[in-house]
């Protein structure tokens, strides 16, 4: 039989309907099958790490928040925790609980956003709107409690800026329960719908060994069966709350969806627990001294483990802030998943790592 197949080189992106942010993937295709992929990034590099070296430690909170819109709170939290460690500042317990509540609200809204985008990646527009409708409730809570919808600027060094009153805590618990109820509908679609399963099951498989060796983080790593979640370290109030990392073993796009759905439920239960257990008291303290030395601060963002390396020299301006964001660590895993799949599966695989390109490039 004559071999009619030929290789072609296709640039996917930087602008593409499924991509919320610009990234280019250079694909080598054999007919419709992906042979190899190489990422080209750098379209949204803003030099925020450099800017954080120019501003003082308090102003830098607002700089690092703007690394990523969706996990902005977590960026600020990671930065603040690093500096609180360097200055030996003990954060009051109420502030730690408030941070947990806002952190989990952020996880909820991020995962709902992702579920919507995932639905969009296989063309299920109405499911996309269902997810975003639920997300709107979370954004309303954030605006009512912290003042803004997404970049909430609630963290300061040594605590949080605003308190949440008892009425609002009750309202948050009530809304968390409502969201958990309305999740039931969309959960069924993501997990049982015939077409959805066809587009996700067996697509973009990453084995446990591969995921571990390629340094994958967050839901991508957990969907491959590694129960690693930085929240287990017990930062903020996680050590006092009851939760378990959500894991799956299949390692495909379906498993990653499932892990995030489980995490959504976890997050809602954490919000309810934290709102119940929250102690009375101060919400912020002043920094004990000027920061000096080096530290690594880690926490679990919706997309996975985020790492800040902070170097301070005893003044108000830091000498280095280095940010390793989750998507940066997940790109090698993405490249491993792609070969062997049809070109039409690419949007689903790409979305399944929950790419955040502005995070990656800073």
């Amino acid at each position: 039989m004559e071999d009619n197949s030929f290789n072609s080189l296709i640039p996917f992106g930087p602008q593409h309907p499924v991509l919320p942010e610009p990234i280019q993937i250079k694909l080598v295709l054999e007919d419709e099958k992906i042979i190899s992929a190489e990422p080209a990034i750098g379209y949204v590099h803003r030099g925020l790490e450099k800017l954080a070296e120019k501003k003082d430690i308090h102003q830098s909170i607002y700089v690092v928040e703007r690394i990523c819109g969706i996990c902005s709170f977590m960026h600020a939290l990671c930065y603040c925790q690093g500096l609180e460690e360097l200055t030996g500042t003990e954060v009051p317990p109420r502030a730690r609980y408030l941070r947990t509540i806002w952190g989990e609200l952020h996880r909820t809204h991020s995962h709902l956003l992702w579920l919507g985008l995932m639905a969009d990646s296989y063309g299920f527009e109405s499911l996309f709107y269902q997810c975003w409708r639920i997300r709107e409730k979370v954004l309303d809570i954030m605006e009512a409690t912290a003042g803004s919808r997404v970049i909430i600027s609630a963290n300061i060094l040594g605590g949080v800026r605003r308190d949440i009153g008892p009425d609002m805590l009750g309202h948050i618990q009530k809304t968390a329960k409502e969201i958990a109820d309305s999740l039931r509908d969309i959960e069924k679609v993501f997990l049982n719908d015939y077409t959805v399963c066809h587009r996700t099951q067996g697509i973009g498989i990453l084995t446990k060994e591969e995921a571990y060796e390629l340094g994958a983080v967050g839901p991508v790593l957990r969907a491959s069966g590694v129960p690693q979640d930085v929240r287990s370290l017990g930062y903020a109030a996680y050590g006092e709350l009851d939760f378990e990392p959500a894991t799956e073993t299949a390692g495909d796009s379906y498993a990653r969806t499932k892990v995030r759905l489980k995490e959504l439920r976890n997050a809602l239960s954490l919000i309810i627990q934290a709102a119940e257990k929250i102690p009375e008291g101060e919400i912020s303290v002043k920094l004990a001294r000027k920061p000096e030395g080096e530290t690594v601060s880690r926490l679990e963002q919706p997309r996975g483990e985020c790492l800040y390396y902070i170097k301070a020299n005893g003044t108000d301006v830091l000498s280095r802030v280095r940010v390793r964001t989750p998507t940066f660590a997940n790109i090698p895993a993405l490249l491993k998943m792609l070969p062997g799949h049809q070109l039409s599966a690419l949007p689903v695989i790409l979305l399944s790592i929950d790419p955040c390109i502005s995070c990656t490039e800073r």
Binding site: H58, Q59, Y62, L127, R162, K188
Partner: protein, 176 residues
């Protein structure tokens, strides 16, 4: 198999969850950070602390000319200025700004007053070295040692907001 049918039928029977913006506008949340409205020109002492704290460099304060200026298109509405203001004279509105066709700034000229004051020293007779002024200072420019009966001012740090003189229970701080 047809899992999405249920939400579809339910949505048919429900009212829409969107509003008919711009005809129906939601009430803003009480503590929302919509935009920085401006300053109270009677109260502002043009100390410039807001401009120093602003992470976006959006505020410019001229102490001599008594002008406070905000570049609303640089402003990230973090409201750090309003929180750090020793006079609490910056107002934040919960209403978001409407989209604009061109860039604009918000410049406010202060009420005419005598030349701006700065703290210079203390009246040693009256001062009890309680340290209230040091706590009140937003810039941390004053240090008070109660046992040594020492009061010192870091003129570099001092922004001249006179918060110290206002808080002093003995009115012992002398202005320039």
């Amino acid at each position: 198999m047809f899992e999405f049918l249920r939400p579809v039928f339910r949505n048919l029977l429900r009212r829409p969850s969107t509003r008919e913006y711009p005809f129906a506008v939601r009430e803003p949340f009480r503590d929302a950070r919509g935009h920085i409205e401006g300053i109270d020109r009677e109260k502002c002492v043009f100390c410039g602390i807001c401009a120093k704290k602003c992470p976006a460099d959006a505020i410019r304060v001229d102490r001599q000319e008594r002008v406070w200026e905000l570049d609303s298109f640089k402003c990230v509405v973090c409201s750090v200025c309003a929180e750090s203001c020793p006079k609490k004279c910056i107002s934040v509105s919960p209403v978001h700004r409407a989209p604009a066709g061109e860039k604009s700034r918000c410049a406010i000229e202060g009420a005419k007053m005598e030349t701006p004051k700065k703290p210079a020293g203390i009246n040693k007779e009256a001062c009890v070295f309680c340290g209230i002024c040091a706590k009140a200072c937003p810039e941390g420019a004053i240090s008070v040692d109660r046992t040594e009966k020492m009061w010192s001012l870091d003129k570099e740090k001092c922004a001249g907001c006179m918060a110290c003189a206002e808080k002093c229970p003995k009115k012992a701080i002398i202005a320039e």
